[in-house]
C-alpha cells in the first residue's frame, strides 16, 4: 500500500526486536469483548487512478460556479484568487507543517500568522487580531462569549440583520452556558434600531456590516449606545472585500470584529474550510480566544516570532481557558494573507470598487425587469430583491438553465411568508457582462 513505508520484512524484523510473535500481542490490552466479531464492511484499498475516477464522477454531478453564471452570496463569495496563492499554500513546508509550538523550526508559520494578524487588524480598523478562528459564524459566537468575560454580563442582543447561521451558532453556544440571547426579527426592511434595547445587563450587541440583506449602516450611534450602557459592540463581517471601500468597523466604535475571511484567498469549497477573523482592542486582548503570535528577540538579539499570551489557552489553562479552540484555520489564513499581500493597498481598494460597480450595474439591470423590486437603498456587492413569485422556485428554474441566480432568503428563514419572495443577489468581480445578461434573461422568463 503506497502510503505505508513498512514492508512485511520490516514488520517481522521489528517484532523480533520487540520480542512479540504476532501483531495481536501488541493489542493485548484491548479486551476480547471489544474486538469486532465480523470484519469491517468496507472495500479494500484502491489505486490512485481508481480513486481519481470515482471523484471525477462525483464532481461531474455538480453544477459549479467555476462554469456557471453565479450570483450567490449570503456569507460565501466567489472571487478570483491569483494562481500564486494556491501554489504557495501548497508548499509542503506550509501545508504539512505542525502547529508552531516549536518556534525554532516554525518561523515560517509564525511570521505569516503575525502578518495575517496585522492585516486583519488593519482592514477592520482594530488594534489587534488573533491567528484565526474556524469561520465567521464561530468567530461571532466566540466574540459574544468574550464580551461576556470582559463585561461580566450575560445578555446579548443579536440583530435581525445578522446572518442566520451566525445567529444560530451564537445562540446555541450561549444557551449551553446559560447566557441570555435576544434574537430580534429578520430585518429585511432595514428598519431595525437596537439602541433602545441596550441596558445595564447587556454584555454585547451583535450586528452585521454590511448586513445579511446587503445594507450598509453607520454603526456609530449604536456603538455610542453600547458604550454608554457599558456594553460592547460586536460587528460581524461576512464579506471582507467590502472593507476595501467602506469605513472599517473599528472607525465606528466596534469593540470586537468577528469576520469571515473566505473571500480573500479561499475557494468556496461548498462552504468550508474557511477562516474566521477576530479583531479587538488591546485592552480586551487577555479575554480573546485563540492563538496569538507575537514578535520577540532570540538570545542573539535576532527578531523572531512566538506564540504568546498562551495562558489564555486550553493547553495551559484547561477549563479556565478563554476558549476550547486548538486547531484553527492556519492554512486558510495564509491564503488570505497572500491574496491580500498581492492586492496591496491599491489593489484591495480597486477590487472593492470593482465589486461595487458590478453590483450597481446588476441592480439597475434587474430593476428593469417586471416583477423585481429592490429592497436596499445601500449595498456593497449584494442586495435583496422581492420577486413576484417564491424565490426558491425561481432559483430552481434558473438552475435548470445552468444559472446560479442567487440565494432565496427562505433557504435560511424557511417558515416565513414574509420572506419567501426575497432573493439575495450578489455580484463580484467574477461576474461578466454575459453572466448578467444570462441572469436578466433568465429572470425575465421566470417572472413573466
Amino acid at each position: 500500500m503506497r502510503y505505508l513505508p513498512l514492508t512485511d520484512g520490516d514488520r517481522r524484523q521489528m517484532m523480533e526486536v520487540i520480542g512479540c510473535d504476532t501483531i495481536d500481542d501488541l493489542f493485548k490490552d484491548v479486551p476480547e469483548k471489544a474486538t469486532p466479531k465480523s470484519p469491517i464492511n468496507l472495500p479494500g484499498h484502491s489505486s490512485e487512478m481508481e480513486v481519481e475516477s470515482a471523484f471525477n464522477a462525483m464532481a461531474m454531478k455538480n453544477l459549479t460556479t467555476s462554469c456557471a453564471p453565479s450570483f450567490l452570496g449570503a456569507g460565501a463569495y466567489r472571487h478570483h484568487v491569483p494562481a500564486a496563492v494556491d501554489h504557495l499554500i501548497q508548499r509542503s513546508e506550509f501545508l504539512t507543517a505542525y502547529t508552531p509550538y516549536q518556534p525554532e523550526i516554525s518561523q515560517g508559520t509564525l511570521q505569516y500568522l503575525f502578518e495575517f494578524q496585522t492585516q486583519v487588524a488593519m482592514i477592520t480598523g482594530m488594534e489587534a487580531a488573533n491567528a484565526s478562528m474556524y469561520d465567521g459564524a464561530t468567530s461571532c459566537s466566540e466574540a459574544v462569549l468574550m464580551a461576556g468575560r470582559v463585561t461580566r454580563r450575560d445578555k446579548t442582543i443579536v440583530s435581525g440583520g445578522l446572518h442566520p447561521h451566525y445567529r444560530d451558532v451564537t445562540a446555541t453556544a450561549s444557551r449551553f452556558l446559560g447566557k441570555e440571547v435576544l434574537l430580534t426579527d429578520p430585518d429585511h426592511n432595514g428598519k431595525e434600531d437596537l439602541t433602545g434595547l441596550v441596558d445595564g445587563d447587556t454584555s454585547s450587541v451583535v450586528v452585521q456590516y454590511p448586513d445579511f440583506f446587503g445594507r450598509i449602516r453607520d454603526l456609530t450611534p449604536l456603538a455610542k449606545a453600547c458604550h454608554e450602557a457599558g456594553a460592547l459592540l460586536v460587528v460581524a463581517v461576512c464579506e471582507p472585500v467590502s472593507l476595501g471601500l467602506i469605513k472599517p468597523p473599528g472607525g465606528m466604535g466596534a469593540d470586537i470584529v468577528a469576520a469571515e475571511g473566505q473571500s480573500l484567498g479561499n475557494p468556496l469549497s461548498y462552504g468550508g474550510p474557511t477562516v474566521g477573523l477576530m479583531a479587538t482592542l488591546n485592552k480586551f486582548l487577555r479575554q480573546m480566544p485563540g492563538r496569538l503570535v507575537g514578535e520577540s528577540l532570540d538570545t542573539d538579539g535576532k527578531r523572531g516570532y512566538v506564540l504568546t499570551l498562551s495562558t489564555r489557552e486550553q493547553h495551559i489553562r484547561r477549563d479556565k481557558a478563554t476558549s476550547n479552540i486548538c486547531t484553527n484555520s492556519g492554512l486558510c489564513a495564509l491564503a488570505f494573507t497572500i491574496h491580500l499581500s498581492l492586492l496591496g493597498e491599491e489593489g484591495f481598494a480597486k477590487l472593492a470598487r470593482l465589486n461595487h460597480a458590478k453590483a450597481v450595474e446588476l441592480a439597475s439591470r434587474l430593476l428593469a425587469i417586471d416583477g423585481v423590486e429592490m429592497l436596499n437603498e445601500t449595498f456593497f456587492n449584494e442586495f435583496t430583491v422581492r420577486l413576484n413569485r417564491p424565490a426558491e422556485q425561481v432559483v430552481e428554474d434558473l438552475a435548470g438553465k445552468g444559472i446560479l441566480g442567487g440565494v432565496p432568503v427562505s433557504r435560511l428563514y424557511p417558515q416565513s411568508d414574509d420572506l419567501d419572495r426575497l432573493l439575495l443577489v450578489a455580484a463580484t468581480e467574477t461576474v461578466s457582462q454575459s453572466d448578467m445578461e444570462a441572469l436578466t434573461k433568465g429572470l425575465e422568463e421566470a417572472l413573466s
Binding site: H45, E115, L145, V169, Y270, N324, S329, A349
Partner: protein, 431 residues
C-alpha cells in the same frame, strides 16, 4: 561557516523581513483596471483613510512567502515523533481531488439539485467513518477536534435535559488533552479531575468514587495520552452507564486502533475524529481541521444541523429542525462543515481501504513499540508496554546530567527531527 555575512543570509538560508517592511507604493501583485464608480450606493460610508496595506509586485510576494516557507519543518521534511497529534503522510492525491472545479467551486447555498455529487461525498465520508467506528450516527459539521468535543457534549447535555436530567459535572482524567476540560466548561459543565493509576490508566476506583447522578459524562481518551490502551474500558463504560451518564471518547488517537477496534464495541456513546490526524488531511501549520462526531443511537437524535439524508430522489440536506425523530440541538458552524477536508479524508480512506486502515493501526503500534524496545535502555520508560501509538518517557535519564528536557529537544532539532511532545501529558515528570 559561523562568520556573519553582510546581508544576514548564508547560502540558501535567507533572511526575510516582514511584508510590511517591503512596502513599495505603486507596485501591485494584481492587475485590475480602473473602475467607473460614478454611481455608488454606499450611503456615504466610503472609507476615508488609507488602510496602510503594503504594496508589492507578484514576484516579490512569491519570494517573500517562499522564503518564509523555508523556515518551517514539515511532515514532508521529516519525522515528527509527536505524541497525541498524529502527523502522517498527506497524500497529494487528496489535494488534487479537493481542487477539482466541481468541488472547489461549489457555493454552499446552491440549489440541492445542483450539488448531488457534493452531498454524495459527505454521505460517503460519513458512511466510512460510521462503519470504521461501528457507531449509529455522525455529526459532520464540527470544524476541528475541540469543536467536535464540544458538539458531542452538547448532544449529551441535550439528551440529558430532554429526559429532565440536569447533571452538572464531567469527569476528565488528569492526563487529558487541554481541550477536554475546556470543552466541558464551554458546554456549561464543571470539571472533575480523575487521577491515573501507576499503570498510566484511569484509576478505576477513584473514578467510581466520583461517579454519581450529577455526572453527565466521562471524557476518556483511548488510547490515552500516555500511549496506553485503557484496558478497563468496558468496566468504565458499564459504570458510567449504570450511573446514567454518557461515555464520551476523545478520538484524537484513533489512528492506533482504526480498522481493528471499534468504539461502538467499547460502549462509547460519542467520539470525535480528527480528520486532520487519523485521516491524513494536512495539519496546515494549525488548521484547517475537521472533527466529525460519531454518536450512539441514544444521542443520534440530538445531532446538530445540518445533515445529509438519502431519499428516493437523491440526497437532501436537512438545514432546519424538521420534526420526525430528530431533535437537533442547534448549529455549531456556518454552512455544512469542512467539505474540502471531507474530500481529502474520503480520498484517503478509499485509497487505503478497510485492509489498509487496519494496517495503519498495526504499523503505528508496531513502530511505537519498536521505538520503545530500542530506547528503553537509554531513556526512562514511564510505563511498561506494549504501548499503542506512542511511547512515553520521563526525564529520569537526564537526572544529574545538567541536561534538561528542553536541551534534549533542541538537540533533536539539530539532528533534523521535530522534538517529541514535551509539555504534556501532565502526569509525567519533565512535561
Amino acid at each position: 561557516m559561523s562568520e556573519a555575512t553582510i546581508t544576514g543570509n548564508r547560502g540558501l538560508q535567507l533572511e526575510e523581513p516582514l511584508i510590511f517592511e517591503q512596502d513599495n507604493p505603486g507596485a501591485a501583485g494584481v492587475d485590475l483596471g480602473d473602475v467607473d464608480t460614478a454611481e455608488t450606493r454606499l450611503g456615504g460610508l466610503e472609507r476615508s483613510h488609507p488602510i496602510g496595506l503594503p504594496s508589492l509586485s507578484e514576484p516579490q510576494v512569491v519570494r517573500h512567502y517562499l522564503r518564509l516557507s523555508q523556515k518551517n519543518y514539515s511532515i514532508d521534511s521529516g519525522f515528527y515523533p509527536l505524541g497525541s497529534c498524529t502527523m502522517k503522510h498527506n497524500p497529494r492525491l487528496n489535494e488534487k481531488m479537493a481542487r477539482l472545479p466541481g468541488f472547489a467551486g461549489l457555493h454552499p447555498l446552491q440549489p440541492i439539485s445542483t450539488v448531488q455529487g457534493a452531498l454524495e461525498v459527505i454521505d460517503k465520508c460519513a458512511g466510512w467513518l460510521r462503519e470504521l467506528t461501528g457507531m449509529e450516527a455522525i455529526a459532520m459539521s464540527p470544524a476541528a477536534g475541540a469543536h467536535g468535543e464540544l458538539t458531542a457534549l452538547m448532544c449529551i447535555r441535550s439528551a440529558l435535559e430532554d429526559r429532565g436530567d440536569a447533571r452538572q459535572r464531567i469527569l476528565v482524567p488528569e492526563s487529558a488533552h487541554g481541550t477536554n476540560p475546556a470543552s466541558a466548561h464551554f458546554c456549561g459543565y464543571g470539571v472533575d479531575s480523575i487521577p491515573a493509576d501507576n499503570r498510566g490508566r484511569v484509576d478505576l476506583a477513584a473514578m467510581k468514587e466520583k461517579l454519581d447522578t450529577d455526572v453527565a459524562a466521562i471524557m476518556l481518551t483511548n488510547p490515552n495520552t500516555c500511549g496506553l490502551f485503557e484496558n478497563d474500558v468496558l468496566e468504565i463504560a458499564d459504570a458510567i452507564h449504570e450511573a446514567g451518564a454518557f461515555f464520551y471518547c476523545d478520538g484524537a488517537n484513533f489512528n492506533a486502533i482504526v480498522g481493528r477496534v471499534r468504539p461502538g464495541d467499547m460502549g462509547i456513546d460519542a467520539m470525535h475524529l480528527n480528520l486532520h490526524k487519523t485521516f491524513s488531511t494536512p495539519h496546515g501549520g494549525g488548521g484547517p481541521g475537521s472533527g466529525p462526531v460519531v454518536l450512539s443511537a441514544d444521542l443520534a437524535p440530538y445531532a446538530p444541523l445540518p445533515f445529509v439524508v438519502h431519499g428516493p430522489d437523491g440526497f437532501t440536506l436537512v438545514e432546519h429542525a424538521a420534526g420526525g425523530g430528530a431533535k437537533p440541538f442547534g448549529r455549531v458552524k456556518g454552512f455544512h462543515g469542512q467539505f474540502g477536508v471531507f474530500v481529502r479524508a474520503l480520498a484517503y480512506m478509499m485509497s487505503m481501504g478497510a485492509d489498509g486502515m487496519r494496517q495503519v493501526a498495526e504499523d503505528a503500534v508496531l513502530n511505537a513499540n519498536y521505538l520503545l524496545a530500542c530506547l528503553k535502555d537509554s531513556l526512562s520508560l514511564c510505563f511498561e508496554g506494549p504501548c499503542m501509538h506512542e511511547v512515553l518517557f520521563d526525564d529520569g535519564f537526564l537526572k544529574d546530567t545538567g541536561v534538561t528536557t528542553l536541551d534534549f529537544a533542541k538537540a533533536m532539532i539539530d539532528e533534523g527531527f521535530h522534538p517529541m511532545t514535551m509539555y504534556f501529558p501532565l502526569v509525567v515528570h519533565g512535561a
